[in-house]
């Protein structure tokens, strides 16, 4: 899958760089808008299928919701703090953190809003987050704490990173990780436009 993603992006870059005129951009905007809707619709289906999620939250305790909240606030705060050092506007830096590791949605949402360079930055930063999360989760679990191991994953805690979290921690933390991933996935399309327009 990772190779397919890399190939899709790189072949698109090659096509755009060598063959296509810049006048095609407005048409691409329409395609991106439609593609984004399709992507969100399918994510909605995935979330809707998790019928037992509220029961799980009730069982684990509503205080477990503090974890996705902390992950979201921490991510946005981190990118906002480093933004000025990279000569970025605070809201533009904030949206990168608000992607919570979900590179496809954050980058296409920014593209749909007309931010091409910011979209590329969101894509790379969130791809880096997903890849490095898989590497550092076991280390965070060992040296910082099991609950903290959920944090690097962000939205990917419900899918890609879940097996790694599960292996590095235990069943209880895995349940909280899954809840965190689902809630982060719901949060991203809500907070991203809000932060962008601050």
């Amino acid at each position: 899958m990772s190779l397919s993603i890399l190939l899709a992006v790189l072949s698109g870059v090659g096509m755009g760089y060598f063959f296509l005129p810049i006048t095609i951009l407005p048409s691409l905007g329409v395609i991106i808008d439609i593609g984004l809707m399709v992507l969100l619709f399918f994510v909605g289906i995935d979330i809707g299928k998790q019928k037992g999620i509220f029961g799980v939250i009730k069982k684990v305790g509503f205080r477990a919701l503090l974890v996705p909240l902390a992950v979201t606030i921490g991510s946005i705060l981190g990118s906002i703090l480093v933004g000025p050092m990279l000569k970025m506007k605070i809201n533009e830096a904030g949206v990168i953190g608000a992607g919570l590791g979900w590179y496809s949605l954050s980058s296409t949402m920014l593209l749909a809003e007309g931010y091409v360079e910011l979209s590329a930055l969101a894509f790379l930063a969130n791809v880096f987050r997903e890849i490095s999360a898989l590497i550092i989760i076991p280390l965070v679990a060992k040296y910082f704490g099991e609950l903290e191991a959920i944090a690097p994953a962000g939205a990917t805690a419900m899918d890609t990173a879940l097996p790694v979290i599960s292996k590095a921690t235990g069943p209880q933390v895995s349940v909280i990780a899954f809840i965190t991933g689902v809630l982060c996935t719901i949060i991203v399309p809500i907070i991203l436009p809000i932060i962008l327009n601050l």
Binding site: I5, S11, G12, G16, I22, V67, G78, S104, F128, A151
Partner: protein, 99 residues
Amino acid sequence: MLVTLIKYLGILFIGGVFGYKGLIKGKIEANLGNIQTIALLFLLFIMGITIGINDEIISNIFSIGLKAGIITIFTMGFSILGVRLVRKYVVLEDEEVES
């Protein structure tokens, strides 16, 4: 901004209803994963085109990559710190999560 937000949430909600009620069945349900992958790869291909078509981004791709790396370190670092701050309030089945 409000229109964008409503549009995204609306689609997410409609998808959620479809998933919850099990309205998607048969071959489409069996191939949901494949359809999602194709849609995602197509979208990323289009994103690649918009990047490739823009000379300014191509010439700055390494500095954009460096920025992305630095931001990633900060977002992950602060999210770990955030969870560290709330961990004492998160109790599972009457026992603290061990560190």
